[in-house]
Subunit: 317 residues, 6 copies
């Protein structure tokens, strides 16, 4: 029985070394990468116990994904499938003005066929928090239904539901996303959303404080966190809005920063922190994540504590 | 205008370094790999000019494949597609008793939708040889039709047609293969087939000499080559059967050996060699290929000449 | 609750790439490596559930070890220590006549201070098998006592005890080993021992069949397995001796072969196999291990099944 | 028949990984690198068709160079030579204050013996632009003559001639360069020159706008582009001077930036752009090049378009 | 006979590639690293001859350390030991706010048992400078005595003694350090100390100029250099204080910067420079070091000269 | 003052990883490699002290070569040159039938201009053995004279002269080699020569025993060793011929085996061994060398002793 249970797809991420181009390298780095497992790992690192639910092909590639997640410390509870691909994505990192480019190859996957009845509902009902993100229902119509059903199960079990909006324009249009995700909102307690998504997908206007307030009021969430990248985040709770600055950081890999933030926020809330304190830990975890290659926040609680307390060190010897 | 035109899928091949397992490595080697482009390259290396036809997604991955093939020296004439995946396969090498394992991820590819009318028929009609293999029609029903149509176009243009049976049990059943491929046989002049496939897919019996003779007689091929791995090959032509031993070799990568054999055989036949001489060059090219990592026979004509003449050297300095 | 619980040290293994020398490389490969965790992983891979007990420093190095073991699929139950080093060893691989050389750096480790009372005795009592090896008591006088105490706890709980003699001449003298280990024999049900150790450490004489018989009779073991490297193994049980040949294999890494053998043997015995059948699976797992880099048998049950049934394949595609 | 034909030496570039020193590394990265092939590739990437002419030793090293250039998409038309070395250079990258250091090993090369009559003059006469740079005549006295003869052939065929001044102090003195290159000026339509070279080699004074104007007036060029590194460039055409700022960029490799600029400028001029528009594309291509390891601008037209239009993205997913 | 003789421990430094974490990488970079050998190498590179004294285990690891130091150009005079470990340390590099973390594994080493009588005192007496640092007496009580004895021998031989305070909090407390090191002060001519250490360990107050002055006056040193990281250094000599700014630099590896500074300072003083000139060279060497991976200042005298004279170049070709 | 002084060229050796082809890799391994430095290192490893004389360009590449040789333990005494290239060679390893191919790029080197008067003759006169090989005079006419002069100097100083015939067909014809080298024979005491060279270059006939005898008698050598690759060697001394078998070995790199043999033979003769004993050590060192990547015999005396005594081990732990 874990404090937090997450549900979603974890892909194999293939990327050329350093700043090389996909177009002509002879080797790819391989990592497990998925928003919901990232959140589970960040939460576990910050002191919660976490389980990730998914459906994975029964192949060496699928075992590769599950093994890496276990290595990072979480429990995994997967439906092993004999049909459907292992999702992959190709990532090319480039500094300005090239940018970082993602090529998804995640159609026809095992998880796109996952139905709620394939999972043990008690896993979710016994947890304190159930988490998934807007990526999951974007993957297939089956998963739209499954996401709704699992959120439902959580609510029935009295489990708090947390959701990261995570709009991905390479998966669906803003219109599809808005229609699908707002339909899920009534089942969600804690919403995390990028200011950009609140504006371009949901059509809200205003500064992040206003966005948080409008979202919270309109959809009856318990808590709304609006993230703003390097400008920090805003948390709305009990009709009060709290500001949190981002910590200064030297970015090695920006991917997964939001997941680290969310996982840490949830873990600290479970630990008993109030929203401002949890936001502080979330921001520190996000800053630390950006210094680490790959999508996963391989951090320790002590390191995050040190940043919250002292802002980090240069050489420790 | 090339001497030989080949048609087929070329995948990205992803494999762990050395003898590592797919299950837990952090990096994959990346190579372009496909039977028909392998044949084109081997033929070009042996002195023919060669063009490879295909349909490829217009992405960095697709450009990666085409760029590598161009590097190896052939012309490429591809239909760039905005739909469909780039096919990939995962290869894990293991010595005895583990063996080498292949995991295909080649469904829903761009090429699976390729129709004959997308290609310039004159390319094929102007060539001296048109080549494809039994892998191509195994990939989709569209490709079954396309393969038949392209073989037809070649015959209409007076272009010799060559075909490697290449049965892949992870793509289709022996029954499907037999039914589909024997239907193509009337349009084929030169057949290359593994003795094992002749037996288990086509149901012939006897030693390789007998297999070659039976195949040649029954289906009205001009030439039949029956390959037997490390035991060499047998060539049937004008009702005469010729034996060719394999050269002794230290195998680094067995994949692509048959393609190297076939490409060299075709190139030497085009060059004017009789069947026994062409088989000798084919066997030498195959032996050289086995010493080279990857699927592609990156050999030079001079090296193959040297093996045919002297059997290879130890240190040349 | 796991079928099998093992106890022992797992080190960081540092080795130069391929055949390079420790003396002048600029990079080391890093792997977790320890006889008892190797046995747990092999057992788990063959279908048992397994837990590894140990004491590990609370550092990134310690977490590195535990993370890798979890990735391979077993449960880990470790006492995190703030004192004592993480054990390491340096491995240099060389073909004949250089041989493979091991430099231990495993003194003053956290585990060398581990006492039985630090572990949850119920973990062991609830298991069906408890396993450790002759390496553990060789590491410190504290561990000699701890080993005895844990074997005792197992016996009290009705848990079968299994023990690999594993004499290491770089840790202690044959005399010390004999005196210490024979004192543990009365608490052991299943003994695995290399023929060489039976002769040079215990002073027995005869062929492996005779060694197995003498050991079994003299010390009242339930089962004795005498291993003979590439010449197979001999199993003594109920006064009957069974021979098992080794499978032919292309060795990439011989280290860990014995552990793979033992883990598979235990798992299959738990599964219900008789001794000859379990020896067959053990030999197949050992053969497969030898094709895999590192100390750990990252195999699947299906692969081992295939070898037992067909002896392995060359290319599967 | 290509839009643009370039002529010059392409070397093997050998460099230690990342910021390591030539003095003590155990591995070198290998890349093909030459100003004139860089220009051809950049032009091809921006939509022109391009051919590179050269003379190359008939060795695996020579084939390595030609293969890599073909991979990047251009046609190669080389004289294969049995005499003369393959030119190489060693590159060590260091941040401030170390700087990037180049050690040339390009004497006694095959290309240093290349005469105009070895190349097919029609190749040049049929092209719309012929390009070479001030490096070529610096390599040997034979090449001084050859450069003049090829520029001549271009002019006779009505082909526009473009020339990058490219002064290299490790190849010759400013005096030698001035004397040789100004003698070529009458045969050149489009000159690209660094402001620094205009000052220290040609002895002009003034700001870049003045340099462009003075050069254009004095030598009767059609177009003069004066480049100023991170401060942008200035284009003089029809007696009008146009300013172009550099795009902000995170530099991974500065080598080849000028070649990317020039290739893009030529391609866009051929495409029909006026000088200011072509300078804009040139600057965008140069900025993109700086984010890419190696000497070659492995960019796509779409990426350059996106930068001209939007200035680049952060994460595209 | 060398100009400068240094004494101290040199470890094997193990670090994950780039910004990866110790916790989950599969390979470590390996380098020799120790303050006193770093100082010797920097001094040698700047034109002095240098010998490093130490005690090292007679193993491939020990030979690895000595071989690398010899490669960098210094003489080594080591007592080969059959007891005691080779010291290692694990280094993880992280940008802000993670910082760079060091895990020492340097207890129970061969050098911790080194006594003065094991070394040839004439080596030290014949040198012009003898150098060690505050790390050496921190390693064992034996080494406290040995350090005192060797400093004594130097003084008896008329050899100038130089000492870097080098406080390491992971080795001992400020109190222990203060008590031990101030006891050594009377035997020391030239002291190098970080402003931070002067404050937190020795309890001095004031700005670096004041610290230098107070230290010099109170303990009767000939010369005191107070270093201030990126803010430069201050040198006190003959009651005069000289300021030296740090050169601007792109830091690849900060470790070893202080050692490079000190080695260069000593070498230039031996060369005859006055204190301000020697500080200038020391600062330039330190800046150059920061651009180089690893702990060792693999620089040339010409490069340092160029920085002192021109401040460095961008591309030299 | 060293026991043995060697003179010759040491190159940078560039080679693709594992079995890859020069033609298309993106990285080269870099090693120092030269027959005469190889001999010096092997001799030093076997217990003699050794110095290598050469002329080397004053560049990072030259320092790279000298640094690596120093790392392996020998003294280096080089003339640093501001003219002439650093010699390089490209090595491609391939199993049968591809073979190992060497491409020399060693013309116009610094060493090709080396004259005897540039070296300190006393270095040679004070040594017990002076060694060079037939490669040196093959490099330039200047070096032919220099080789003769240095051999002369050795004889005048009473230093034993040893010479490895080392015919390289890529450097000169058999006729040139015969004429040049036989002219040097009167100045040589100990000749090492491959049976193949004795036959094809010198025109002798017979089995190795006969070759040794004929060579010894005809040219008045003190000792003649005729090597026969994997079939061992024959030593002629005082009119007696001694046979030495090769040790069984798993070859990782055959290059440098002869140098290891020769260096060990000389060192053991200096140590006082008779010819049969010295041949035994030479054969064991050669066997060990073949297990080690690169050209250099990075072995220890203890390892060679162990092979002579026991023939090597499998795993030592």
């Amino acid at each position: 029985m874990s404090d937090i249970v997450t549900f979603g797809e974890t892909m194999l991420r293939l990327s050329p070394p350093a700043n090389e181009r996909l177009e002509d390298v002879d080797e790819f780095e391989v990592r497990a990468a998925g928003a919901e497992s990232n959140v589970a790992i960040a939460a576990q690192r910050l002191g919660a116990t976490a389980t990730w639910l998914s459906k994975i092909p029964e192949t060496p590639l699928g075992r590769r994904v599950v093994g890496e997640l276990r290595q990072h410390g979480i429990e995994t509870d997967v439906v092993w499938s004999h049909r459907g691909r292992q999702g992959t994505y190709y990532l090319e990192r480039g500094g300005k003005p090239r940018g970082t480019n993602v090529i998804y190859d995640r159609e026809h996957t095992a998880i796109s066929t996952a139905e709620a009845r394939e999972f043990d509902a008690d896993r979710i009902k016994d947890a304190r928090v159930f988490f998934t993100s807007g990526i999951t229902p974007a993957l297939s119509s089956t998963l739209r239904e499954t996401t709704a059903n699992l959120l439902n199960a959580a609510r029935q079990g009295g489990t708090t539901t947390a959701f990261d909006f995570n709009y991905r324009r390479k998966l669906w249009s803003p219109e599809e996303a808005r229609e699908t995700l707002t339909r899920l909102f009534p089942g969600i307690d804690v919403l995390v959303i990028a200011a950009r998504d609140a504006r371009t997908v949901l059509g809200f206007e205003g500064d992040p404080r206003q966005l948080a307030h409008k979202l919270g009021s309109q959809y009856d969430f318990t808590t709304v966190v609006v993230t703003r990248g390097s400008e920090g985040a805003v948390g709305w709770h009990d009709s009060v809005v709290h500001d949190q600055d981002a910590y200064e950081t030297e970015t090695v890999s920006p991917i997964g920063t939001g997941d680290a933030f969310t996982g840490a926020f949830i873990a600290r809330r479970l630990h008993g922190d109030d929203v401002p304190k949890a936001l502080e830990y979330a921001a520190a975890t996000a800053a630390l994540k950006r210094t680490i290659p790959g999508d996963v926040a391989r951090v320790s609680k002590e390191e995050v504590d040190a940043i919250v307390k002292e802002g980090g060190t240069e050489i420790s010897r």
